[in-house]
């Protein structure tokens, strides 16, 4: 598994997609000047912009790496040579996933450092009214990373079924979009105005709430930007949720890939 992960990492670093996405990091340079345009709450704005950029870059990476890595191996018939080695399909898939996850963490650290630099720079020039909670910012970026690692796991599940990159890429995008709103929908249904909905719609929505990944739980941007304290029990719960959800999705992916014919 370790060896597959290493090879996967090498592949990502030498890939054009990665280089293309890396170009987006250059936008960090623009953030201070854009943020100063707003005269008020410059630090908050620069934090918001930085975290959005972090999120955007990680989203691109998770969709394109998660959706194409496994599929490309099958499409280019690398699987014949690799799975002809004494390697189980499970170890192969988990190795690839581990490589991608490690890479996502690495990119998150790089983006985190960029955010620190940008925000520090801005806050020196325009001292903020409120002290910046660097701890919150760190936890926020860490959970962004976890969120996108979960997106990658979902993309791997799609890739293990699919014979084209269509389903992995667009399926993952759909799940990502849906997974960001399930919490809101769930809350709406249980609110006063939600009781007017038909029971069937409610049941379907609640069902989806439990099946789809709940990505909004990973979003701590507000806490980082406005210095709202982060609840320890909440983050722990989200972390346990991440571990369980990823384990289930990857377990399914391994099961599907093990039964798949390499033909």
């Amino acid at each position: 598994m370790k060896n597959v992960a290493i090879v996967t990492l090498k592949g990502i670093f030498r890939d054009r997609i990665f280089h293309g996405i890396l170009v987006n990091v250059a936008f960090f340079v623009l953030i201070p000047s854009i943020a100063t345009l707003s005269m008020r709450q410059v630090t908050e704005l620069s934090l918001t912009l930085s975290l959005s950029l972090v999120s955007f870059i990680l989203l691109l990476l998770s969709i394109f790496l998660g959706g194409t890595l496994l599929w490309k191996d099958i499409e280019r018939r690398y699987t014949y040579s690799v799975l002809g080695l004494p390697l189980t399909r499970g170890r192969y898939l988990l190795g690839k996933f581990a490589g991608t996850a490690i890479f996502t963490l690495f990119v998150s650290i790089v983006l985190g450092v960029a955010t620190y630099l940008v925000v520090s720079w801005v806050s020196i020039i325009y001292p903020p009214e409120r002290a910046i909670l660097w701890g919150n910012l760190t936890v926020c970026i860490l959970f962004e990373a976890l969120k996108y690692i979960l997106v990658i796991a979902v993309a791997f599940l799609f890739s293990s079924v699919s014979t084209s990159f269509f389903l992995p890429v667009f399926g993952t995008i759909s799940i990502f979009l849906a997974g960001n709103v399930t919490q809101q929908v769930y809350e709406y249904i249980h609110s006063a105005s939600g009781s007017a909905l038909s029971p069937l719609v409610c049941q379907v929505a609640v069902g989806l709430y439990y099946i789809l990944p709940n990505f909004s739980a990973f979003d701590l941007k507000v806490n980082a930007i406005y210095g709202i304290p982060i609840s320890l029990s909440g983050t722990l719960l989200t972390f346990v949720y991440f571990v369980l959800y990823a384990a289930i999705v990857l377990g399914l992916a391994v099961l599907v890939l093990s039964r798949r014919e390499m033909r």
Partner: protein, 289 residues
Amino acid sequence: MSAVSIHGLSKIFKGKRGTKVVALRNLDLEIGAGEIFGFLGPNGAGKSTTIKTLMGLITPTSGRALIMGKDVSSPEARRHVGFLPENPAFYDYLSAAEYLTFVGRIFKMEAPQLERKSEEVLKLLDLWDARKRLMRGYSKGMVQRVGLAQALLHDPDVYILDEPMSGLDPIGRTLVKEIIQDLKQRGKSVFFSTHITSDVESVCDRVGVIVKGEMKCVRRVDEIADGGITGYEVRHIATGSDSPESITVSTSDLPAILSELQSAGSHILVVEPIRKNLEEFFVDIVRQE
């Protein structure tokens, strides 16, 4: 213990809209330790399907296969195998040297041994100068050579090679034959597919001919040479002539013709059997379909 044993192997590919392709039909095969076996068949006969089943890439519809006594559904069956896929493709963002390191580690080779063997096979396959370049820039034949190098790397006992000579220049083809002969001398088992009969003739102990998913016959290569006498060439000097001439006669006519020539006073120089070569043997079997 047999290197490879296949029992009643069948494979039906189910396509879209209920189409079915019967790729293998009740295949049986036993390859002994130390044997070089040539798997001969026309395009689409089922050679690659058999090999993919052996490597656990596809699951048989029925029947089973073992490598060194281990069922092919387990990755352990592949531990003692060097496998070359048909028209192989390897992670093209790695160099040949990096890829061999990856393969060696999966086979749990120790670092010094891996380095030594890697150098040995890269030099053997004439890839040493290109070893640090990414495989993305390799020619077709060079990729085929990487395929052979990674199959030989961990010095396995069994080699399963799908068209090992394909894509190689004449020097490369000769090299592959030499490598197989060397493996034979070292007591290794080789199972390789091809559609080129001369490759089989020069290196194999036995040959199996597969046509439309069925094993038509399995023979010793030397038996095909002995058994397939189709006629004789008789060289003689007729009475009154001083230059020799040749006539071709069928096996059944030979005694009559010989006595005829003798009674006519001819001087018979040589009687040579005309053997059917493997090519004709193969074409005959395929044409019978």
